[in-house]
Symmetry: C2
Subunit: 138 residues, 2 copies
């Protein structure tokens, strides 16, 4: 059976991403987290007081989809919202949120290590830079 798709780096990029995301979803399932929720936790943890609008921009998701996401993190007691001004909220992790974030990092680091295991050691940096250039300079 011929497979012309095998010659296409773009197709490989897609398949690699899906494969990795499947594994990540599996790992996050134990934490009761979706992928985007985990990235939001990371950014809130690194930037206490960050606003929803900042998350929207950094994660490149739609504003309306941020609402139920943050609501769920707050509902579980992982994130707190404090009014910054009359229309925006600053987000911070609760102690429970910090603890959860630590577990997120375990899952993520395991995944990244597995990913990197398929990249020659001397190629890891350029591999990363190339992927970053693709989405940032497309």
């Amino acid at each position: 059976m011929k497979d012309p798709l095998a010659k296409l780096p773009g197709y490989a990029l897609r398949r690699a991403s899906v494969t990795m995301m499947d594994a990540l979803s599996e790992g996050l399932k134990d934490l009761d987290l979706k992928f985007t929720e985990s990235t939001a936790l990371v950014l809130i943890g690194a930037n206490p007081g960050i606003r929803q609008a900042d998350l929207v921009e950094m994660l490149a998701i739609q504003r309306p989809n941020m609402v139920p996401l943050v609501a769920r993190l707050e509902m579980h007691g992982w994130v707190e919202r404090a009014a910054v001004d009359g229309r925006s909220f600053g987000l911070t992790l609760t102690p429970a949120g910090e603890a959860l974030l630590n577990r997120v990092w375990v899952v993520v680091n395991d995944l990244e290590q597995r990913l990197i295991s398929h990249v020659r050691t001397d190629q890891v940096e350029i591999f990363h830079k190339t992927l970053t250039a693709i989405w940032q300079n497309w």
Copy 2:
């Protein structure tokens, strides 16, 4: 604003894939095709008489989702189904399907070239091999 995600090759892989897929979807919109439909056309074109079950395996999609996909390609007169035995159909492109496939290749080749433009020339092959290893040997 700190962004710990920027250090993660896996996150870059995801963002790169999404960015590229957005561009591909845009290109395929002119052809009235979805991404998976375009990959099915490629495989049918390269393997006349291929069965749905073969597509399902090669594209790693679910069998039930193949049904409306092939039905749409047939409905538009791009693909013909011929009974191979009592339970399976062999798929072939019609002349209209071949013409459409040529246009798919134009879109795909443009996209691949744009993708590759972000990869150093001497790195293209290893970049491709690395991505392939990730999804095939995960």
